[in-house]
Symmetry: C2
Subunit: 328 residues, 2 copies
Amino acid sequence: MKKFLNSVDTVLTESLDGFAAAHADILVLGEGHKFIRRRELKPGKVALISGGGSGHEPLHGGFVGHGMLDAACPGQVFTSPTPDQMLAAVEAVDTGAGCLFIVKNYEGDVMNFDMAAEMADGVQQVVTNDDVAVENSSYTTGRRGVAGTLVVEKIVGAAAENGMALPALKALGERVNAATRSMGVALTSCTVPAAGKPTFEIGDGEMEFGVGIHGEPGRRRDALKSADAIAEEVCAAIAGDLGDRAKGPALLFVNGFGGTPSMELYLMYNSARRIFERQGVTVIRSLVGSYVTSLDMAGCSITLTMLDDGMTALWDAPVHTAALRWGM
Amino acid sequence: MKKFLNSVDTVLTESLDGFAAAHADILVLGEGHKFIRRRELKPGKVALISGGGSGHEPLHGGFVGHGMLDAACPGQVFTSPTPDQMLAAVEAVDTGAGCLFIVKNYEGDVMNFDMAAEMADGVQQVVTNDDVAVENSSYTTGRRGVAGTLVVEKIVGAAAENGMALPALKALGERVNAATRSMGVALTSCTVPAAGKPTFEIGDGEMEFGVGIHGEPGRRRDALKSADAIAEEVCAAIAGDLGDRAKGPALLFVNGFGGTPSMELYLMYNSARRIFERQGVTVIRSLVGSYVTSLDMAGCSITLTMLDDGMTALWDAPVHTAALRWGM
């Protein structure tokens, strides 16, 4: 295992300490590294809280700040945070208007966020499940929540900033999730620090088609294909699942898994954009970069969110977080 | 070689097409992929032009936009752009106040930018050479220009936006370069698409200490060390080279080489920050991310820029580019 670390036991806390120090203008770290929260809270605003296993950075801590999340709870690598983390976050950021949990659909996360929601007052939840690769998988009943979670957090975050109430925010989150589809491809495995070796074996000429963000299996192992051929198949899976909705204005988000450089991501974006536009999608907003990662895995995912005017305005609204920043 | 590509001959142009399409609000691609330029020029402003071999993205194209560069000329991967690219860029963005070339110190780049500067009118140059690893190397006479180039481009870009004249911008660029030191470490090699195999061999338990951003050798090959031990040695090299200047306010920039995830970069930042602060440096500004990369190389560099009030204000000034954005 070749990683910058001192000890596998302290990777997460040392990284969080660095993250909080680098972005001290935006956020603070909760006691015992239980959560990251905004430095300045906005009284009367519904608090948005997300979280999940670490190893997907900048998701979710990198999206804490004005216009997006109020707090994020980091679990150990690829391991759900515990309910006491979410409860501590609620206590730290709920200013009286209630909290919305945004949860990726994995059994551990769903169970732990559910438990916290039952123990706290005034909490509602949105569960994301944008991954069209497989219906059930290693850690999920139903579809996995992957890179589309960023889109839900951005759009719902902007609406919360504008003063939208809790039930409407939950409905909006579910609407954005329903308008969003993703699928990913891995060229290499990731390596979990505590395991010290690659999560899965993959040959020099192979790729994992439909991979999950923890390296869990997708649709099939296949021979490595050209970027265009990969994009064709991923875009077809996304468009096929959207059906008649795959027409008109959309956000195209090409996401790197951590080990894939920007040059390749823009090449994939170029390919995916041409394919979607040929089919009647109009790409009016774009995001390209490594935002929902799988440690050091080489690979990428493609996410398409069908936009209406309201969603587009909320996407464009000011955001000031460690990983996404515009308009301020 | 496991990369997202269609053909090694078209990697660069397809990636540039995707980049220009994704950021069409900010920039346009010059004819024949010779340069990337701002969509909106500001008459009377000195034009800042940079460029170099591709494979270091987002450097330089990702820094084209308000508050930073006016144009960037992308060469083939790890190959200098040709003088006709710089001349075409000058023609496209010089609004009459002259141009400043910002050039990383590599023989090919220096030669080609020099040629273009001689053929164009009203051009001056700043050459960056922030890498303390080695005095001369595979492609340089003198020190290499690496991640510190971003700092020069940001600070000089803000001053140009404020209306500073060409000779003063050149002096400022040289002052920022002189206040900046960097050094990098590689855990793996990068793979140039046209070569199809890793640039250098490196064992499972080894690292290249002082590596260049093209994978060129550094100070030595060594056994892989802990993050703290690596940071100690890199910070000592930087502080030692700065000498008495390594006291007081500074920007600490931890840069990933393309294959290293955010979690490890923040861990290195945490380590480097503690080391520098113990020595009397006060980290008042931070940047952590993969900004000056070497394709898919796993590794990182640490850059320290000693700041004065003027430089800090220019660092903080609004910027709106594909890769750096704040204040607007």
